[in-house]
């Protein structure tokens, strides 16, 4: 999976392309760890080209959401494909992570 991170003013944009799975979850964790160090995180994921996530990806989004919320920050996942959204829905993650 490709992860492209850009910062604009105080906001962080993350563009995800491809599959987030067991083969690259560790790399994804390394990619997003710096985002947790922001004092007041404001993160927007563009999931337009995210093809897939397994529970390996879900746990990282949960970890990030917990950190962001504990700092009073904001995180949103945008433009998710229907099948990827279904994985968030059936696990209840849609209730605790903002998806628009």
């Amino acid at each position: 999976m490709d992860v492209k991170i850009t910062k604009q003013d105080a906001k962080t944009f993350v563009q995800l392309t491809g599959r987030l799975d067991t083969t690259n979850a560790e790399q994804f964790q390394s990619d997003i760890t710096p985002l947790m160090e922001d004092a007041n995180p404001d993160i927007e994921f563009d999931c337009t080209d995210m093809e897939y996530t397994s529970s390996q990806g879900l746990r990282l989004f949960l970890m990030l959401q917990k950190t962001v919320s504990s700092k009073g920050g904001n995180m949103v996942l945008k433009n998710m494909k229907t099948q990827v959204k279904e994985v968030f829905d059936i696990t209840g993650f849609s209730n605790i992570i903002k998806i628009v």
């Binding site: 067991t22 390996q56 746990r59 970890m63 099948q83 605790i96």
Partner: protein, 132 residues
């Protein structure tokens, strides 16, 4: 089709891709392929993390309008279905990281069954299919 992975350490991607490339799966509709990929990944992750087996066998077959996927490994007896489901209505603070993989399989597949057969763990999954 039966594929055996021995040794199995570090073969996560091989297992998934061999199932996805099998003739039983490659012609399925995209939404079914998505579910198969996801559940195969979740099960093999579980086996590789917990069973301690040095080998895994994966068998796929189509029966009428159903795809059967069977995993066998020689690890310690471990019934992943015995674990309680995660509370999907829990708040963000209460949600635990982990415990989701087998729950996803139970949601996505029509049938998920575990059996201890001799010295092997056997996990079967079944899903209704519509060939393209």
């Amino acid at each position: 089709m039966v594929k055996r992975f021995d040794p199995v350490a570090g073969r996560n991607a091989d297992i998934i891709e061999s199932v996805m490339a099998s003739e039983d799966v490659v012609n399925l509709a995209d939404d079914l392929q998505f579910k198969v990929r996801l559940c195969v990944e979740e099960v093999e992750e579980n086996i590789l993390c917990y069973s301690g087996s040095t080998w895994v066998e994966v068998e796929t077959c189509v029966e009428k309008d159903q795809l059967n996927i069977e995993f066998r490994d020689g690890g310690i007896a471990f019934d992943p279905l015995a674990k309680a489901d995660p509370d999907i209505n829990a708040s963000l603070d209460e949600r635990n990281i982990g415990g989701l993989g087998i729950f996803i399989c139970k949601q996505m597949m029509d049938v998920v069954e575990y059996e201890r057969k001799g010295d092997s763990n056997v996990l079967k999954m079944k899903i209704a299919i519509k060939l393209q």
